[in-house]
Symmetry: C2
Subunit: 140 residues, 2 copies
Amino acid sequence: MMATDSLDARVDEILKSLGRRTTAPRRQVARLLASKRGAFSAESINAELPEVGRATVYRTIRLLAEAGVLCKALLPDGSPRYSIDHSWHHHHLICSSCETVEEFRSSELERLLGELSDEIPGQVLGHQVDFYLTCPNCLQ
Amino acid sequence: MMATDSLDARVDEILKSLGRRTTAPRRQVARLLASKRGAFSAESINAELPEVGRATVYRTIRLLAEAGVLCKALLPDGSPRYSIDHSWHHHHLICSSCETVEEFRSSELERLLGELSDEIPGQVLGHQVDFYLTCPNCLQ
DNA sequence: GCTACTGGTGATACGTAGTATCAATATATG
DNA sequence: CATATATTGATACTACGTATCACCAGTAGC
């Protein structure tokens, strides 16, 4: 599968650039992630990979999130969901019903957030904007 | 203390309006919360009230959060912090260093978020905006 | 003020999310 | 191929929160 192969290569590259080793467990996790559409919990990945240790699953997810391959969104209650990061900077549309997470971009929003960051005392490191909604699907 | 007394009264009122009972443990939790400045974790409240059960501490915090007395902010890693809710609708300035949570309001931001909500497919229920920063204090 | 009804409490157990430890193992490199 | 070391996975631990359930205490009605 094209997408899987390219993510494999991307993961190899990232690991190399970080001086990390390319191991079988990391490949297994990366391949499973690549097959996922939408958002997922770390625990669900762990459940689908009984042959990979839990700690390794979590470590790999963290590694890929820090490398920008995955991004982390928080459901309204704070529980994290991960998804493949398709675009550089974006926010999230989170369905409170089916927990689907979609990416969302708005240059106008970005501009305003930038302006506000300049006004806020201290050094702004980043921001998070999430919309909680009932998605068209869940509205029937 | 004035602030404590008024929160006591407010909590009594809220409990009454919800048809809930005014109990000693709920008062203890509410009093401790009133004495807090800034944000705190549920667990820290639990630790400071050994005579109140953990379940009751969490139940009371949830009750007060749902009633609008407390508001919940999420640190960058998703761990929740609670603080007395001083103003109706606001966002958060979260110091990544000292974990201080401050309230933040911007009518311009609110207006834009409202506009965007209209454009987003599905029924938008709410949004969350957080700025992560190093606060002036932590910048020395 | 007493009593009964029922909501609240707290001990315990459970579930999710994630990190720390550490002996055993696999990888990249000379 | 040998070896230094990054990585693994079992286990244990922390934070955060909910479910259960026997017992207790508010509150409404008399």
